[in-house]
């Protein structure tokens, strides 16, 4: 029993480490790609690592209060937790994480854990922009969760399970078994929702550096920021892995995982570099419009 537990925890650490490194690299890569789109060279691939080191190397920190202090902790706990509840690689023991403890619903609700904590921390900083950004972020979140939820429901109908492992195993055996082909409407709806989740343009209303200097983390710095940046890598990848599992047949080894998550992420990135920003209410209306209809259609088609 003890040995089993230790093994599981060790595996989780390995999985987490791999995913963190990959996530940070992916962020660097994206910066590079964005720079290329701009016609620049861009920072080096490892720039995110340096940034994290630098932030942690800051000698001073301030704190506004307990929740401010705990905010980033919540955030990264949320990111790590989300990732750990998703089986990353199908069939792999190391990357199965803690997916035995809950199903898709758990993951969907665990998304909120970090956001809520971060919002609380940002709130305690007392900075008006933080509060405004949180208000925007939460508002947008409610909107993009709708098509995503519909899409998940469509999957639940399709596969008659809410277990992510179950959904992945049902997609094995050929590219045509992937949800993206068997249930394209649900996939489209979910991918549009993913754009919102990733908060790239046109949905970057939370950070919006030109309006409300980077929103919730305005007051966060030094080691806090280090944690947030780490989380950004992990949480981002958690979402990508989830989408890969749900819609793109999952991954059987780390290479496929990298390829698939990278490809999914590229969608956000390409959309991001191509569009300006929505206003919040536009974003809400957008998600409750076509994507929601697609989601509803996906549910209806599956039910028929």
């Amino acid at each position: 029993m003890l040995q089993e537990t230790v093994t599981i925890i060790a595996y989780a650490f390995i999985s987490l480490l791999v995913i963190t490194i990959y996530g940070l690299t992916l962020n660097g890569l994206v910066m590079k790609i964005v720079a290329r789109v701009h016609g620049r060279f861009g920072p080096p691939l490892w720039q995110p690592f340096i940034d994290i080191i630098k932030n942690n190397a800051k000698r001073t920190m301030i704190y506004h209060g307990t929740m401010f202090f705990l905010g980033p902790v919540f955030r990264i706990a949320g990111g790590i937790g989300t990732y750990l509840f998703i089986p990353a690689i199908h069939g792999s023991e190391v990357f199965a994480n803690f997916s035995f403890s809950g199903d898709l619903l758990l993951v969907m609700y665990f998304f909120f854990f970090g956001q809520l904590g971060m919002a609380l921390g940002a709130g305690e900083s007392g900075h008006p922009y933080s509060a405004i950004a949180v208000s925007r972020g939460l508002a947008q979140m409610t909107a993009f969760e709708v098509p995503f939820a519909l899409s998940v429901i469509s999957l639940a109908i399709q596969y008659q399970t809410l277990s992510i492992t179950g959904i992945v195993s049902a997609q094995q055996g050929g590219i045509l078994h992937w949800t993206v082909f068997t249930n394209p409407l649900a996939t489209v709806a979910a991918l549009i929702a993913l754009l919102g989740m990733n908060m790239h343009s046109p949905f970057d209303i939370v950070l919006a550096p030109q309006e409300i200097p980077i929103g919730p983390p305005t007051e966060f710095h030094s080691a806090y920021l280090g944690l947030l940046q780490t989380n950004r890598a992990i949480f981002n990848l958690a979402k990508l892995v989830l989408f890969m599992n749900l819609y793109f047949g999952g991954a059987t080894n780390i290479l496929i995982l990298i390829i698939k998550t990278f490809s999914i992420y590229m969608l956000s990135v390409i959309v991001g570099v191509s569009f300006p920003r929505f206003r919040t209410e536009q974003s809400i209306r957008f998600f409750l419009g076509i994507p929601t209809i697609l989601g509803i259609l996906a549910v209806i088609f599956q039910k028929l």
């Binding site: 720079a35 060279f41 861009g42 340096i50 940034d51 080191i53 190397a57 980077i214 305005t218």
Partner: protein, 210 residues
Amino acid sequence: MLKNQENQPQKLANAGLPEHEKYLFCDARPRIRHPFKGFWEKFLNWARANSIWMLAYGTGCGAIELRPLMTARYDVFRYGIAPRPTPRQSSVIIIGGYCSVKTLKRIIRSYEQMQNPKFVLALGSCTINGGMYWDSYNTINRIDAYIPVDIYIAGCMPRPEAIIAGFKKLKQLIKSGKAEGANLYAENFDWYKANQKKIIKDWNMPDYNW
């Protein structure tokens, strides 16, 4: 090199604030933060040098030169330099040209809100001796009487290439552990503060903006 501050009072008076607002501001003195010794500090300094986040705050006309710096032509991102909208997260503040009294107040506030280690890059002649506005009633002639400047980049205005050169110099300073402006400021806090208060008449902020 750095003096101990034991005999100084621990709390700031914040005399510029009205009594009923004093509780709203932190009254702690800035403290000297000693660097680590040896390789560890060198490693950290390497990271600090390669990830310079500058405060996106155009204090003067020189800010015009910062846009080309970040776009495709000069692309300072190559060097790990990136703009940052909040002083809390930035490590360098660029004094972009002539500095009026009014701006100085904001510069001081922003500078104080940045976290140690932090660096100051002064741009153009005006920051050195007032430049063409040397005899203006409202222009600060010598910026380093108010905040510790790491690098001056001469010129009116300095071209982006000069600025990049300045950054390179700053990197070298950081790597060599010589860019300890923040500690300098803390060490000579009373002197700096006295200078600042001498020129800023309507001092309505705490003595140190945490």
